[in-house]
């Protein structure tokens, strides 16, 4: 059970196919699988559908895969930081399926948990509900949303042991666990790989069963909006 690979491109070897559905972790530029995205760019794989809360920025994260036109369709909740994305979308070169953020997270988690559909109040009475099944429970109306079953998941964690058990750090956890769960195969990039037994089994955020291949950084970990307060105002 060898899960540790030498590089992002090695870790993706044999997993890529044009037209595939990829689920990606991360929120904004926080906790994104930046090395695996670079390797996807290098691979030339195309016509991708990518389920990811955001689409990166023009020169970092999924923005790079948009720049090379390798993405056919995005499933996202917010894409406001990406000018090239907007250009492709408004010109019709790129499909975009907006999902409310919680619906997107739950759709990934559901796919990973073998749940093909679930009911939610989110989006009832809005454009999101159009064409979706409506059903009442206890006098309230809900819509059905479907689980996402991805061909491949790409995620970023903080630490892994060599059996694929993962821990995340602070808000960089975000979409990474649900994205990992919904993929047939999941590749994780981490900042450090430690020997099995190094992580307390009670503290593992994502068990290794969800993680098939692992690579180690280094990561740029770019900050999107650096906001600070002054020492003197404290």
């Amino acid at each position: 059970m060898k899960k540790v690979y030498g590089s992002a491109s090695e870790a993706l070897d044999g997993l890529l196919q044009d037209g595939m559905l990829i689920a990606a972790g991360g929120f904004g530029l926080c906790g994104i699988p930046e090395l695996l995205i670079d390797a996807l760019v290098a691979s030339g794989v195309k016509d991708l559908t990518v389920a990811s809360n955001n689409a990166g920025v023009d020169d970092f994260g999924l923005g790079k895969l948009l720049a090379t036109r390798q993405i056919k369709k995005m499933i996202s909740s917010y894409v406001g930081e990406n000018a090239e994305f907007m250009r492709q979308y408004l010109s019709g070169e790129l499909e975009l399926e907006f999902n409310p953020q919680g619906t997107l997270a739950e759709r990934m988690r559901a796919g990973g948990a073998g749940i093909p559909g679930f009911y939610t109040k989110t989006g009832v009475g809005t454009v999101i509900a159009e064409g979706k099944d409506h059903r009442d429970f206890n006098g309230e109306t809900y819509i059905m949303e479907e689980g996402i079953f991805a061909d491949l998941s790409i995620i970023k964690a903080w630490k892994a042991d060599d059996t694929g058990n993962l821990i995340f750090r602070k808000t960089a956890r975000n979409f990474n666990p649900p994205a990992a769960m919904c993929g047939k195969v999941c590749v994780a990039e981490v900042e450090e790989i430690v020997p099995r037994g190094s992580i307390d089994p009670d503290l593992i955020h994502l068990p290794g069963i969800y993680v098939h291949r692992i690579i180690q950084g280094p990561h740029e970990k770019r900050i999107e909006q650096r906001t600070v307060r002054q020492k003197e105002s404290a």
């Binding site: 926080c30 917010y78 953020q101 619906t103 989006g123 808000t171 970990k221």
Partner: protein
Amino acid sequence: MPSSIKGWDRNQMAARAAQELEDGMYVNLGIGIPTLVANYVGDKDITLQSENGMLGMGPFPFEGEEDADLINAGKQTITELNRTSYFDSATSFGMIRGGKIAAAILGAMEVSERGDLANWMIPGKLVKGMGGAMDLVAGVGRVIVVMDHTNKHGESKVLRDCTLPLTGKGVVDRIITNLGVLDVTVNGLSLVECADGVTRQDIIGATEALIV
């Protein structure tokens, strides 16, 4: 309507919104004026949720202490507190959808007299996405909108019907504007409070929706 009526400024609106919060509440604050509400909670024990996966959001970090792994839902660098917990996005929106967040204080483009809310897109303009707004308004215990009563053209943002695509239908409980406080009731909009120097008549005059 007389454009001379000013009522509350941004900070006074935030201070008024802070009165909505009670000790022990878990709260989600939207961007803009809602963010300012945190400055006015006083010694009430309020825990702020950031929907990207955190309860117990702290202030911006000191210069040099920013952490790329610690941001809020507006993607700004922030800090943690001694009550903080982190979790994934599915869990985060589970607690939102499941009604565990007592209140969300959000900005709005338009609110209708039946509590419809529009705050995520303007057709024909750039569409950025709803982010977590639709989940929040559908799930949290109480939705409080804080916004200017009128737009920059002086037109009412409190309407009989929203003209923009909805974020949620019948989701708003209370509207706090520069002119006062309105509740969405089964009978329609009910005036709860006028801002300093503002009369009931001023608010009726500035409001397209019916006030009952």
